[in-house]
Symmetry: C2
Subunit: 388 residues, 2 copies
């Protein structure tokens, strides 16, 4: 397998984009990434587009081919991939695999979703395409409900306070204020969070990521070819995709998602690093409690200690292990199919030392993207080339 690096990156603002159709968002991000890739577009041999629910929400599929056409990729295989909220991460992994395997010398991964035009009912129904309707439809499962159950399970097993869970939202919303791409950065307080509407007990409004429009894109190539790129190329040490149970009954213990645990273990082994070596993590905080569960599954926080560490500021920028310096899904936003690629975008800026909320001397970073009821997961480990 050949060694791979990321050259060009691109992203739209995350938020409401009434002025843009979904094609336009994806094309804007892809074009920006291509413009900074240091490659001729004729060198791009594959396009992977991560998207979850463009069909029900926009009536538009074949987005991979549409983007490939508009950015001028001549007769190159263009494929949409889907794995619920992990669709973007799956797109990135397939672009990496295409180069690793020698199928082509460069590839582009794009992620996109457009959701804010939909009614609340339509958006909710579309998001429920991520559950296994046969197994969990009759349970009435929604995703705030699922993470409400996870929170209760975590509380029962390890004990966690409202203040500790709220500390995730407070940190990520504050990080989001520093990220020019973020949709909903804010200065939150525990009182504001506690007074926000109840969504699915104990999950309240500020424990939830928003509904978002947005797109992100990254170009990958061989490390040799990446040397001439205009911006510092970032090495991909590992890119792993795993599967977990698609339904609740497959997760007897909601304090952990096995797809995350196994993806992380494989990624660390592949990269030859351990969780303690990481300088920062961008992970899938679709709900505040999810950040704690995910961080423990990734081995970056000790089991049962995630709330305490967060409240103590140890996951803030400047802390022991900064988590979601971008603002994460909670503050940056969660245009579902875009998220996994957007995490790579944020991590690359950190590793180049160019992030608006920079982690000092960031040399090694991890991104984590989780879909559905933990049915699909991707974990990537990225390194600045001079960081060993």
């Amino acid at each position: 397998m050949r060694e791979v690096a990321i050259t060009g990156i691109g992203s739209t603002l995350f938020g409401r984009h009434p002025e843009q159709d979904i094609q336009g968002l994806a094309i804007e991000a892809a074009q920006s990434a291509l413009d900074r890739a240091g490659l001729d577009r004729r060198e791009i041999g594959a396009l992977y587009l991560g998207n979850f629910i463009a069909g029900p929400l926009t009536g538009q599929e074949v987005l991979a081919g549409i983007v490939g056409d508009k950015i001028g990729l001549s007769n190159v295989p263009c494929t949409k991939v889907e794995g619920a909220c992990a669709s973007g991460g799956i797109a990135f992994r397939h672009a990496v695999m295409a180069v690793q395997s020698g199928l082509c010398d460069a590839a582009i991964a794009v992620g996109v979703e457009k959701m804010t035009q939909a009614s609340r009912k339509d958006a909710t129904n579309a998001l429920l395409c991520a559950r296994d309707n046969r197994e969990d439809g009759e349970s009435g499962l929604t995703f705030p409900g699922l993470f409400g159950r996870a929170w209760k399970a975590y509380e029962a097993r390890y004990g966690i306070t409202r203040e500790e869970v709220a500390a995730v939202s407070i940190k990520n919303k504050a990080n989001g204020l520093k990220n020019p791409l973020a949709q909903l950065g804010a200065n939150l307080t525990l009182d504001v969070i506690k007074q926000s509407p109840m969504i699915a007990d104990p999950v309240q409004l500020y424990d939830c990521c928003p509904t978002s429009d947005g797109a992100a894109a990254v170009v990958v190539t061989t490390r040799d070819r990446a040397r001439n790129a205009p911006d510092l190329a970032i090495d991909v040490l590992a890119s792993v995709q795993t599967r977990g149970a698609p339904h609740l009954a497959g997760h007897p213990d909601l304090t952990s998602f096995d797809a995350t645990v196994s993806a992380a273990q494989r990624a660390y082994a592949m990269a030859g690093v351990s969780a303690g070596d990481l300088d920062f993590v961008e992970l899938h905080d679709c709900f505040s409690i999810a950040e704690i569960v995910d961080a423990e599954d990734l081995g970056v926080l000790p089991r049962g200690q995630g709330g305490k560490w967060t409240l103590e500021g140890r996951t803030a920028v400047g802390g022991t292990i900064p988590i979601n310096p971008s603002g994460g899904l909670l503050a940056k936003g969660h245009p579902v199919g875009a998220t996994g690629v957007a995490q790579i975008y944020e991590a690359v800026l950190q590793l180049r030392g160019q992030h608006a909320n920079q982690v000092r001397n960031a040399g090694l970073g991890l991104t984590h993207n989780l879909g559905g009821v933990g049915v699909a997961c991707t974990v990537n480990i990225l390194r600045r080339p001079d960081a060993r």
Copy 2:
């Protein structure tokens, strides 16, 4: 790149399946393929599922993970791929690539769609996700309309009679009568076709494939590993995916789809064969005129002669080059995401000499799957191992 062969294959009946949800169809086909693969399921390292419009039509995504879970693939990457009507072909190509590249030693491709429960309006709207709404939405394009334009363009350039186009439907519907999996085999006559309702001038009802439910699956592995399979393993000589323009304006000449032409050229080069070496073809006859355009694009019929050859019976079983001995999309049915995998299923039966509508001494076959306005295409060339 390693050499790849197909071992197990599975398929549901194509047609109406009110008794089954979409998960059930996909699981049935996947389980059948796995049961005949001659492999332990722990050897399967990747699952690719081709599906186009399960989101809008069934409210169910993450089908790749759901199928992987139910057939017992332990923590293996499971990915849905989409490229409109070529989704199944794209799934097969990715399973092949996973084994070719050494990523894993065996992989499974599944294709599925469930459409007959939808109202005509909902089905039509969902199928229109395959057009580029930004470019072609205002044109009022529908797919019968597109192929009506192709027919008119072909007629203007080469001349073709109603009888010649009808000969495609008559042949494929007759082939379908012999295929136990087919939805709508029939003994048709020119008169019946000419008296059928006009859909989009000159396309009439019997020029159109039906709306279908169904699923198919195939297992691929290395040629060495395939030797112990219970059924004859079939060699994959080439598996190619290309992109064409996603909108009408990108196709100034509708008598040909460039994605098919380039996919075929690359596939022949990769396989070291030419169109004249083929013993049969399974191609994307979503409409009767499409078979003629596709066959000429693939180089298996001379340009402008497709209608004449068909009317003369030269594309029937026993003719010069049998096309769609399965009945094709017109008679076997077109559960969209399943079709590309189902074509492989049919071709494997032919190459094993086990098809209910057998082409004598079939040693080399080609499958062709086309999506949207020619935006995505896959071409595969398969060979019986003892046929050189």
